[in-house]
Amino acid sequence: MNEPLRGVVVSHADLARAFVDAVERITGRSDGLVAVSNEGCSREALEARVADAVGDAPAVVFVDLPSGSCLQASAHYLQTHDNVAVVAGVNLAMLVDFLYHRDASPRDAAERASSTAQRTVRVLTR
């Protein structure tokens, strides 16, 4: 069995922390997810925060926006690390699903997260 993946949520302001807290409220689990904020960081400093959060574990890095400082820092980190995949456009549904499917490879888990997000964005009208 693969080492369980770590999920690192990277966001503007306190959004990542709120995502991780919300996942814990829903699942009752506090393992597997780490929050990183870009507050007060240059790109290089944020990349260092991402590196600290990933540590030695294989990981999926979940980024809030598909552009900007959080993605840039995560993509820079990805350039030199094989055991990581990055997903941009994080949502709560993909994080909850991720928590129960951490035995995949980073790439497969990232693909699953992307599919989950696309499947769970719904439009309701009267």
């Binding site: 960081c41 240059s42 790109r43 400093a45 926006l65 552009s67 900007g68 400082s69 840039q72």
Partner: protein, 156 residues
């Protein structure tokens, strides 16, 4: 109006594209950075942050010397971005920079806080003072909806 040169170590990000982009109705961002101008994958990364209808130009400091007059002539709709004070100083040596916005210079070794989003070493502060003494207008302002702080106030 002459072109605004923004110093922001996050380069192309939300404050620039959304905050300044909408307020100035930007049609062009010029990213002046020697390393990025030589890296296709980094350019692709920054291009992802630019909305439809807005152009992004990547150039080295040397290359910016040739294009600057044209961007200056389109100063109302063009924003020039550099990542640090050192690049600003080098750009100012080869181009007619007259307006500078300190938008985001974050904590690093040797720097101290001047504003919550502006950290400068004494050497960087001195470099900015030299530019200001030459007539360059320098203010700090993260987004257009906040009041600009003149350099003298930032360094006080």
């Amino acid at each position: 109006m002459s072109v605004l040169v923004r110093v922001d170590d996050r380069l192309v990000h939300g404050q620039v594209v959304v905050g300044w982009g909408r307020a100035m109705r930007l049609r062009r961002i010029v990213l002046v950075d020697d390393a990025i101008s030589a890296s296709d994958w980094e350019q692709e990364l920054y291009r992802m942050g630019v909305p439809e209808g807005m152009e992004i130009v990547f150039t080295s400091v040397t290359g910016a010397a040739d294009g600057f007059a044209g961007w200056d002539a389109d100063g109302d709709r063009t924003l020039v971005l550099v990542g640090d004070v050192g690049t600003l100083v080098r750009l100012s040596a080869v181009a007619s920079v007259t307006r500078v916005n300190l938008g985001g210079i974050h904590q690093a070794e040797g720097r101290r806080e001047r504003l919550p989003y502006v950290f400068l070493s004494d050497a960087e502060a001195a470099q900015l003072e030299v530019l200001a003494a030459r007539g360059v207008s320098i203010t700090a302002q993260a987004v257009p909806t906040t009041a600009p702080a003149p350099l003298a106030e930032v360094l006080r």
